[in-house]
Amino acid sequence: MEEIYILGLLAVFLSIVIGFWALVKEEDDLHRILLTDLAEILALALIALVATDLAEALILPGLVVGISELMAISEVFLVREGLTRQPERMLHIEVMDSAPAILALALIGYGVLLSGFSGGAVAGIGVIFYFICKGHDERFAIFEVLSGYAWVMWIVAFFIFVLVPQYWFFGVLIAGAAILLKVAGKMSLVGTMRGGANV
C-alpha cells in the first residue's frame, strides 16, 4: 500500500514537472488556459491518490474551485481579446428542430429519477440541449429564483439532520432534490451567458 502510494506520488510529481514546464514554454495565451486546466487535473489526481471515501468528498470542492477559476480566466481572456460577439449558429440539423422538447423532457425526467448530483448533471444537459436548439433570451432571473429555493431546501435538510436526526430519510430526500435543482440550474448556464439582454 505504502509503496503504491509513493509510486503514484512520483508519477504525479513527474506529470506536474512536465505540465509546468509546458506552461513555461507555451506562448499562446489560449493554449496556456488549456494547459492550466490540464495541470488542475493533477491536483485532482493527487487527491484521488488518497484512495478513501474522504478523497471523494475532497475532490468535489477541488473540482468546483478549479472549474470556477477556469471560467473566470476564460471570461477575462474573452474580454481582453474583445471576443464578446454572439457566436453564429454552427450546427443546424433536422433533429434540432423536431426533437428538442421531447429529448429534453426525457433527460430531465431521467435526471429527476436519478436525483442528487448525477441526476442534476443529466437534467442540466437536457436543459442545455433545449437552449442550444431553441435559442435563449437569458432568462436568468428564473434560474436565480430556482437556485435560491434549492439553497433554502439544502439548509432545511441540514437542520433536519442536526435537530431531528430520526427523520434523516426525509432530510436526504430534500437534499437530493435540492442538489438536483442546483446542479441542473448551474449546468444550464454553461455557454449561455454572453452578455445579452437580461429578460
Partner: protein, 222 residues
Amino acid sequence: MFELPVTTIEGPEIFVIEFGDIVNYFTVYTAALFTFALLFTILVIISRPERQVDIAFGGDAFYTKDVTPAQMKFQRFMALACGLATLGAMMSGDVFNFTLFTSMVGITNIGIVAAYKYKHVLNAAFQYGIVAMIATVPLFGSAAIILATTGTLSMWELFGSTIAVPLIAKIFLVLGVMGEGMAPFYVAKAEITRAPGAPYVLMIHVSSLLLFLRVVEIVISM
C-alpha cells in the same frame, strides 16, 4: 474540551467554534489577524472609491478619472466576498478548509480586477489568474498528501507532536498560498494596483498578506 497542542508559537487559545468534527479556533494571533481582516472588510463596505488623477509626463496636464460607487458594484461585491473568505481562512481549524478559503480568495482577487476594461489591467488579471490556477495544484496537493500520510486534516491533530507532517506537504502548502497571491508573483499585482477603486484593490493585498501570515503559523506549528 479542545486544547491546542502548542501555545508557544502563537499565544494562548481564546475560544473554539465547533461544527461537528470541524473545529475552528481563535488564538491571540489568529484573533488579531481576524480583527484586521474584519476592519478592512468593513472599510470596503463603508468607503467610496477614490478618483485617480493621471498626469501627462513632461507637461502640466492632468485629468481625473471619475468613478462612482454604482460603477464599482461588482468590485465591491467581490472585495466583500474576498474579505469573508479571508475571515474564514483566519479562523479555520482544518487544513482542507483553509486551502478552500485560500483558493476562494484567489478567485475573488481575479474578480476584483477583471471588471476593469483597461487592456493592461486585464492582461495582468489574466496572468495572475493563470498563476492562481496552477497554484491550486500544490495547494490541494499538500492537503491530499497530509491526509494520505497522517490520516487527518484537523489542525488539532496535526499540531500535536505525535504526528509528523512530511516536509514536501509543508512546502507545497506555502507554495500554494504564495501562488494564490504572494510575493514572487507580485509583478502582475503591481500592474493590478493601477486600477481605480482603492478600497477594493487594497482587499487583494489584505487577503494575501493575512493568508501568508496564517500559513506561516500553520506550517511552523505542524
